[in-house]
Assembly symmetry: C2
Homo-oligomer: 192 residues x 2
């Protein structure tokens, strides 16, 4: 599990072998089953999580019981609830496994220490945060401006590998459209 | 104009007087009229902008000609298109004045130099970026999960001071609802 993470860091972050060792030796490896939660509404997000394999979703549940999905995280990406993690305050969201997943996790104090000690990790981390912001902004714009058809096409274009791994109701909950609308869109596309 | 900015930095950023001087002397002051653009779709976002007074909106226009608003920025806040600024590539969005506004602007090279030279400015800037992310995530969740009524109530709660300064069609374009729906919601609230 560690070796996949080390390959990722080596490829993306421009860190030395010694730095990569320090980062991975501060992590705890964890396997979770499908549907298992790593963060639950009301808890404090105490870890930064790197996904070695599998698929997670971050979602919130509103008063009528419906689930709305903020994010999917798959292999070689990071996930956390940033607001809860940064301020160590209770989260409004949940993070759960869509598939059986292998994770590496760092506590906030351990990761903060690594960021202080390894300037290249700090720079890499800032770049990941910036990219995540750019994507959020783009997603917000799509959410405000696009038709349901355009939202689905956008999803297919951005996440072709996730299509077969997600139940339709989760794709609908991510796009902010009803399952009925999504089914209609897919049916119309198949007929073309 | 500079003195309002210096008061802001003094109150929020924990910088020394000498640091504040260096930051403000690197800025260019600019006044813009209502409806004037400081960034237009297709241009590169070359400046970080601090709003001393007035009101700006960041928006995109889609194929059918409709405008969708990502953000309002009022006194004592910063604005830019981060993706265009970070990568110095053409933006998909526009930033225009809703009211006559007074701005301070830094070029990216000048601001990058300040961030390198003044660690407390770097820390403050990271905190602003983090807060902006937390708000975007919350807004995305509202956009996915809330009813039009809840979206409007959320706006009133978060931006009570903007209500009287914005035409209704802009509030609708920010909430991702039609002007007709917004008018109906406001009418129903007045009758209560």
């Amino acid at each position: 599990m560690i070796s996949a993470f080390e390959t990722y860091l080596h490829t993306h972050a421009g860190l030395t072998g010694e730095e990569i060792n320090r980062i991975s030796s501060a992590a705890t490896a964890r396997s979770i089953r499908r549907n298992e939660l790593i963060l639950q509404e009301g808890q404090v997000c105490r870890h930064k999580t790197f996904l070695v394999s599998g698929l997670l979703r971050t979602y919130g549940i509103v008063a009528d019981g419906s689930e709305h999905i903020l994010q999917f995280a798959s292999e070689n990406t990071w996930t956390l609830d940033a607001e809860s993690y940064d301020h160590q305050k209770p989260t409004l969201f949940n993070i759960a496994a869509v598939e059986r997943s292998e994770l590496l996790q760092w506590t906030k104090p351990a990761f903060d220490r690594l960021l202080l000690e390894i300037p290249a990790l700090k720079a890499f981390s800032e770049q990941l945060i910036a990219n995540s912001n750019h994507r959020s902004r783009q997603r917000l714009f799509t959410s405000l401006s696009a038709t349901p058809e355009e939202k689905y096409e956008d999803f297919v274009r951005l996440f072709p590998d996730l299509l077969a791994r997600l139940p339709l109701h989760m794709i609908a909950a991510y796009l902010g459209i009803s399952l009925k609308t999504l089914t209609r869109i897919r049916h119309a596309q198949l007929k073309r």
